[in-house]
């Protein structure tokens, strides 16, 4: 959308003003995340740029907060907990969610709308309400303040994402492929693993990534259901922010940004691959 050659001065002015306004919004979106990263290399325990940093004096930078992070027991435990909880919850959510999506996408499925509504409800209900409900429930059956309790709760929160992404890959699914496979003598199990699975795999993986990031970033349920033993990264950041904010938090945050860039890239590549496989867009 370049300025047309016939545009008058007014249109030209508007064109550049609009572009400038959009640039401001993009800046608003990205700046808070990017500005924070250099601060995590600050040699001083301040949350603002020092004169040394602004003049790119190497003395102003250090890896001090990263060293603190890796030397800290509580941070290391929380990273370990987050990974254990996230991976276990993802496995449960992906398995159950994929099965349910396969069922929901069948044309014979009755009451589709109702079931879909129920299955994605964990995504709709405000977290504080889910957390309160789960707190009472898990306390009554003795799962509060235990690892399995947090894992089960996070798996429930992650399932809607798996259901949605897998259902989306199944929308364009060509059922004559399974029929062709059956007519060539493959059993239903073989048809599933050889024909259907490879086609829905990108959806399954990106659903799993969504489920993982949901658990990895979740804090409200952890605040209510988990105990001190199950502190996760967000829980540690939460108390860090509330009690005494130290630049170590910025080091964690920067690492998490790098991590999310990695996840974003993976999901984007998977989405393209899925569209290409299903012939929905060229490359």
């Amino acid at each position: 959308m370049a300025v047309p050659t016939y545009a008058g001065p007014l249109e030209r002015t508007w064109y550049y003003t609009f572009r400038f306004l959009c640039a401001c919004v993009f800046f608003f979106l990205i700046a808070p995340i990017l500005i924070m990263i250099p601060l995590s290399f600050n040699v001083e325990p301040y949350f603002t740029y020092t004169r040394e940093m602004l003049t790119f004096n190497p003395d102003g930078f250090s890896l001090r907060w990263y060293r603190d992070l890796f030397a800290s027991d509580s941070w290391m435990t929380s990273i370990k907990n987050s990974l254990i909880i996230g991976i276990s919850a993802t496995i449960v959510a992906t398995f159950l969610g994929t099965l349910a999506a396969l069922g929901l996408s069948r044309s014979e499925m009755p009451f589709k709308g109702l079931f879909m509504g129920l299955l994605i409800s964990p995504m709709i209900v405000p977290l504080i309400i889910s957390a309160a409900g789960m707190f009472f429930f898990y306390s009554s059956i003795g799962l509060a303040n235990t690892m399995p309790g947090v894992i089960l709760a996070h798996a429930a929160l992650g399932t809607p994402f798996v259901v949605i992404t897998v259902t989306a890959t199944l929308v364009g699914f060509d059922h004559s492929l399974t029929r062709a496979s059956a007519s060539l003598g493959a059993g239903s199990g073989r048809t599933f693993f050889k024909i259907q699975m490879p086609l829905i795999l990108p959806g399954v993986i990106s659903g799993a990534l969504f489920a993982f990031i949901t658990s990895f970033d979740e804090i409200v349920i952890v605040l209510f259901v988990a105990g001190v033993e199950q502190r996760t990264i967000p829980r540690e950041m939460w108390s860090g922010i509330r009690e005494q904010i130290s630049p170590t938090i910025l080091a964690v945050a920067s690492l998490l940004v790098a991590f999310s860039i990695l996840l974003l890239t993976t999901v984007e590549l998977l989405r393209r691959r899925s569209e290409r496989l299903r012939g929905m867009s060229p490359g």
Binding site: L29, I124, T159, I219, A253, L264
Partner: protein, 429 residues
């Protein structure tokens, strides 16, 4: 399934009985087909069943149980059944007669011995603030009381001299109560037992509901104001450039919520980057630094940033499908650029605006973390008070009532959202 396929393909010459098509084993084709269809339906259902059962147990039933707590009221009737029976005859005026106190003395003595009086005292304390002291104190001496019990009670604690206390015991003797909802809407019972609004200076929740809703509306409008131009720009750019710009939207979307909240604290606090820059530029003095965080402003800025992607993604996907020829046609028919934009383009984006708006609004009225961290006093929302009653005041009935009100509002909005766009069109990333 394969069996049905085979029989269907068999030559129908051999399989006709009385002009009706039958399969090899002689069952009518219609019945056989129906059976096959039933089997397929069952398979579909069996695939959904594990997740459905899982969510029922770990999610839906727990929330149902929590909502039940908002009306559940077993404390009084389980500890004071005989007293409640005796209170049946009391007309609600003055102080009840001796039989009531006889039952009270007996039941309080038992409750004190088996330690059930604590729950009763806590429950009644929600209704009248001296109840805890009165019940705990009197229950300790109840075992040694001698007739006439009425006088003994009246001398024991001043609350026993107030007829309101007996009215409360009688009212809360029901196994289900509306009093948590009454409290959640800043109501109170007057002397005649009618529900009236609390005194002005004791109202909390109505203001909080209004504040939560107006903050959410404000945040929704802000995300629309910021999201509309960039979605429009991306929709009109070539695919490659648009995908590049999309990273600016998706990176915040994928970044941890706490990371984004932390970075706003770093930016907006008194010694933070924004204040330093403003001083450097000379817009403000060193001693008049702006308080942009730990108040409502901070909450709104941070939440707008966090929720902006949820507005841009649906808007962009709708705008991408709008053919540019309509606007060109309008212009060629003599419309000014503004008319063409406002009367032709904007109406076509309404599904996207609706979807994004409802989505952002639903998420923001239930938001907890960001207001809790950067909201200070004036930026608190309804979720924060639910958490307060869950964890600090331990008034779980009231927390459940507030939660139910919030949940019902969200479900209604979600239903609207569903009517607008359909749940399965929810786009992720």
């Amino acid at each position: 399934m394969s069996q049905t396929d085979d029989t269907l393909n068999g030559s129908d010459e051999d399989h006709k009985v009385d002009g009706q098509m039958v399969t090899v084993d002689g069952t009518p084709l219609k019945a056989s087909l129906k059976r096959a269809e039933r089997k397929r339906t069952l398979i579909a259902f069996l695939l959904v069943a594990p997740l459905l059962t899982y969510l029922m147990i770990t999610f839906i039933v727990p929330i149902g149980q929590m909502m039940w707590r908002s009306v559940d009221n077993p404390q009084v009737i389980s500890v004071l059944p005989k007293t409640l029976e005796a209170l049946e005859d009391w007309d609600g005026e003055g102080i009840p007669d001796e039989p009531v106190f006889e039952a009270l003395a007996e039941e309080l003595a038992v409750a004190s011995a088996n330690r059930t009086v604590g729950r009763l005292a806590v429950r009644l304390n929600y209704e009248i603030s001296a109840a805890r002291g009165a019940l705990m104190g009197t229950s300790r001496s109840a075992a040694d009381m001698e007739p006439p019990y009425k006088q003994a009670f009246l001398d024991d604690h001043r609350l026993w001299n107030e007829s309101e206390f007996y009215r409360i015991i009688k009212r809360e003797g029901d196994p289900v109560t509306a009093s948590y909802y009454v409290a959640a809407f800043d109501g109170a019972y007057n002397e005649a037992g009618e529900i009236v609004l609390q005194d002005e200076n004791r109202r909390i929740y109505i203001d909080l509901f209004i504040r939560t809703f107006s903050m959410s509306i404000g945040i929704t409008l802000l995300t629309l104001l910021l999201g509309f131009p960039i979605s429009f720009l991306m929709a009109s750019l070539p695919m490659r450039t648009a995908n590049l710009l999309m990273i600016f939207v998706l990176l915040p979307f994928w970044t941890s919520l706490l990371v984004r909240t932390t970075s706003w604290i770093v930016l907006l606090q008194q010694q933070g980057v924004v204040n330093e820059v403003l001083i450097l530029v000379g817009l403000i003095d060193d001693d008049s630094r702006l308080g942009m965080i730990y108040n409502m402003t901070g909450t709104i800025i941070a939440m707008t940033h966090i929720l902006l992607p949820f507005m841009v993604l649906p808007l962009y996907s709708v705008m991408k499908t709008i053919p540019p020829s309509y606007v060109r046609a309008a212009k060629s028919l003599g419309a000014t650029p503004w008319t063409a934009f406002w009367r032709i383009y904007v109406p076509q984006t309404l599904p996207g605006i609706g979807a994004g708006g409802v989505l952002v609004f639903i998420i923001s009225i239930g938001y907890y973390i960001t207001p809790a961290l950067v909201g200070g006093q004036s930026g608190q929302m309804i979720s924060n008070l639910i958490a307060y009653h869950m964890q600090t005041s331990l008034n779980w009935g009231l927390a459940a009532a507030l939660g139910s009100v919030l949940l019902v509002s969200v479900l209604i909005l979600y239903w609207v959202y569903n009517r607008l766009v359909g749940a399965d069109s929810l786009k992720l990333g």
